[in-house]
Symmetry: none
Subunit: 228 residues, 4 copies
Amino acid sequence: MSTINLMADGQRIGRPLAADSARTRQRILDVARQLFAARGYESTSNRIIAEEAGLTTGAIYYYFDKKLDIFAAVHDDAQRTVYERFDAAVEGLDTFVDRLRAVLECAHDLNNEDPSLAQFLGSCRVDAARDATVAAAIANNRPGRHRSFFNDLISFGISTGEIDESQRDIHSALFRTITTGLVDAVSGDRAHHRNAVDGIMGLVEGRLVRAPGRAWPQPASPQEQPAG
Amino acid sequence: MSTINLMADGQRIGRPLAADSARTRQRILDVARQLFAARGYESTSNRIIAEEAGLTTGAIYYYFDKKLDIFAAVHDDAQRTVYERFDAAVEGLDTFVDRLRAVLECAHDLNNEDPSLAQFLGSCRVDAARDATVAAAIANNRPGRHRSFFNDLISFGISTGEIDESQRDIHSALFRTITTGLVDAVSGDRAHHRNAVDGIMGLVEGRLVRAPGRAWPQPASPQEQPAG
Amino acid sequence: MSTINLMADGQRIGRPLAADSARTRQRILDVARQLFAARGYESTSNRIIAEEAGLTTGAIYYYFDKKLDIFAAVHDDAQRTVYERFDAAVEGLDTFVDRLRAVLECAHDLNNEDPSLAQFLGSCRVDAARDATVAAAIANNRPGRHRSFFNDLISFGISTGEIDESQRDIHSALFRTITTGLVDAVSGDRAHHRNAVDGIMGLVEGRLVRAPGRAWPQPASPQEQPAG
Amino acid sequence: MSTINLMADGQRIGRPLAADSARTRQRILDVARQLFAARGYESTSNRIIAEEAGLTTGAIYYYFDKKLDIFAAVHDDAQRTVYERFDAAVEGLDTFVDRLRAVLECAHDLNNEDPSLAQFLGSCRVDAARDATVAAAIANNRPGRHRSFFNDLISFGISTGEIDESQRDIHSALFRTITTGLVDAVSGDRAHHRNAVDGIMGLVEGRLVRAPGRAWPQPASPQEQPAG
DNA sequence: TATGAATGAGTGTTCATTCAT
DNA sequence: CATGAATGAACACTCATTCAT
C-alpha cells in the first residue's frame, strides 16, 4: 500500500514490486469502457487498451482470456452500476410519474458523472446488434435487466391507475425508444440531454403541445407543477 | 440468400454477356446498404460486399475508388429517399400535430418497405461518431438534412401556436431523441415500431398518462381524434 | 490525314473515325518511354500509360501483347536512335580523342534534345539488373550494341597509337563506368552534364589535375587545344 | 540460400527459445539490404524479406513500423559504414591524388567485402529518384554525406594546388559521374571494378591516353609514381 | 480499333492471440 | 505479473490481363 504506482503522469510502469492485481484489472476495465464507448468493440484493439492501461498486450491476457471477456466484464460493471442507481432512485416514490421523473433525472445525473457509462451501454447495444458473438457474450444479463426494470415501472403505473393495462405494450416500446434515444442521440451533450429529459416529462405532463386554438391544459395536479 | 450466381431478377451474372453497369453499381449499393446497416462500416469487408453482389473484390474498385466512397454513396441514396418521402408526407397538412403524425407514419411505412434504410441511417450515425473519416465522408449533407427538416417542423408548430417559442430547444432535443430511438431501438421489429409510433402520438395528445385520481383528458379536438 | 485527332489539350479522344494505328502505337511508346524513365518498369502501370496516351488499358493490348513488350519496343527505339547518332558523330574523325569528344558531345546534345532518352536507357539498365524477365526481353540487342560501339572505339584508339593494347580492358571498364555515370548521375541537369563531359575530356587531356609543385602540363597538341 | 530455418550462425529459429531481438533486427536489415540492392524498393515485398529472414510478414512489423522504415534503416547503416571507411582512408594523406587513390581503393575493398553495400546505395539513389516518398525517407542524410565528402576532397585538392579553383564545379560533376558509374556499372564484377578504378587513376595521372605521335608523358613526380 | 467490365493474384499492414521467459 | 517476440488470418487496395462488344 506504500508502493502505489503513480500513473497520473501517464508514464509506463516498469515491473511494480507489489502490483495490485485487482487494481490493474479495474484499470483495464476503466480504459476499456471508455475506448469501447468511443470507438466500438471491433475498432478498439487490445494494443490500445494495453497502452492506455500502461501494459503490454500480453499482460492483458493474464486478466482476461480474450478480448470479448473484457467487453463482457465492462458490460457487467456498467449494467450493475446503472440499475443499482435506478433502483435506488425510484424507491419510496408513490406515483408512476414521480418514478419516471426520478429515473430520467437519475439517468441525467449518471450521464453527467461519467458520460462513458451511458455511452458504453449505447455503444454496446449497437455492437451486440452487429456481431452475434458480442451479443452472446452479454446475453446472460443485458436485455433482461433493462426490460424487467421498465416492465416493473409500467406495472407500477398500471397499479396506480396512471396507465391503462391495454397500453402496456405501447409503453414498453415507448420506453425502449426513449431510453435508447437519450443514450444514442443526446448523451454526448449535457444541455441537449437536459432538454430531452425536460421534453419527455413535458410530453408526459401535457405541457408541450396544445391543440391549435386551445389554451394550455391545466397541470395534472397543482401541487407538483414543475417550474421548468 | 447469397447472390453469387443469381441477381435479384434471376439473371445470370459472372462474365455477363451484356453487363449493365448501372445495374451492377446499384446492386453493390443495395448489398452494401444492408451489410453496413447490419454490421457497421468497419466490420463490412469489401470481400463480403463483393461476394454478396456476385463479384470479386477487384471489381468493386471499378465502380468506387475506395470503400468509404461506397459508404458515402449509400448514405446519399438513403438520405435522399427518406427526406423526399418526409417532405411529401407533410405537404399540405395544416397543423403541427398532423404533420408530426404524418412524419411518424411515413417513417413507419419506410421501415416496413425497406428496414435496411432506417437501419443504415442509424448505423451510419454510430459509425460517424466512432470514426472521424467516416464522419467526414458524409459531412456534406448528413446532420444538416435531418436537423433542418425537424427545425422547420418545430417552426411550423410555433407558427400555428401549438408550440411555445420558448420550448424550441426542448422540442429539438426531443425530436432528436425520439427519431434516434425509433431507428436504434425498434426499427428491427414492426410491431414494436408500430407501438412506439402510437406511443409517441399518444403522449403528444395526452392520451397515455393521466394523473392519479383523474379521468383521461378529453381529446384535444373532437373532429381530429386519432383512431389508433 | 484531314481528321487528325488533336491531343495537345490533353482531352480524351472519343472513337476517332480514321484512327491512325501507327501513330497511336508511337504515342504509346513515347509516353511509355517517359514513364519508364521516370518511374521504372514495375512502378509504371498500364493504366497510367493508357491514360497518358488517351486510351483505356484494354486498348493497349491491341498494340502490345503484354507490358513487357512495350518496354522492349521502347528500348529498341531508344537504342537505335542513340547509336545511329553515335555512329554518325564519330564518322570521319581521325583520332581517338576527337572521336571520344564527339561521342561525349553527341551524348550531351541527345540529353538536351530529349532527356527521357538517356534517362530511359539508364533506367532500363537498372530494371534489367533487377528483374530477369526484363533483362531477357531486351537481351537480344542491349549490351551488345553498347559494348561493341565502345570496343570499336577502343580498337580505333589502339590503331592510332593513342591507347596501349595492354590497357584494353581498363579502357573498357572505364567507358562503362563513365557512360553509366553520365546517364545515372548527371543526365537530369544540363549544367552538371556539361561539367561532367568537360571534366572527362579534361582528365583525358591532362588538364585537370597537376602534381603538387608542378606547372600544368603542356597541351597534348597545340593545334587542337580546347577553348573550355 | 534461403534462411528459413537456419540463421547465418546455424542457430535454430522459429519460436526461438532465447530470441535475440537485436540479432533478429540485424538479420532483417541484412537480408533487406541485399534484396533492396538486387530488386529495388518496390519489387522487394515484405513477404520475401520475412521469408529470407526466417519470419512471417507480421513479425517484421514488430521491428519496423512500415516497409519504408526498413529501407531508411538499411540506408543509414550503409551510409555510416561507407563514410566511416572513407574518412579513415584519407586521413593523414598529404596530396589530393593520394587521397583520391585511397578513396577509390577503399571503395574497391568495400565492394569486395560486401558487394551489397555499394549496390544498395546505387539502387537506393535510383529508388529515391523514382519515388518521392522513398526520397523523403532518406533525405535527412543522403546526398549531404556524399556531396560534402567529395566537396571536402576537392577543397583539399585546391588547397594543395593540385586543382584549380575555377574547376571546382567540373570536378564536382566528374566525381558524381565517376562514383555513380563505379557503383552502377561495375560493382557487380570484381575484375571490372578493379579495371575501372585503375582506369580512373590512369586518367588522373595521364598514363592512359597519349596524343598521337607523342611519347607517354613522364610520371608527374618520380618519387610518388604509382605501382598499379 | 477501342471500350468497359471483370478476374485473381499480389501488396503493405493490422490484429487477436500465444507462450517462453 | 508482465514482457517481448512471434504467428497467421484478415483487410483495403492495385495491377496485368482478358474478352465480349
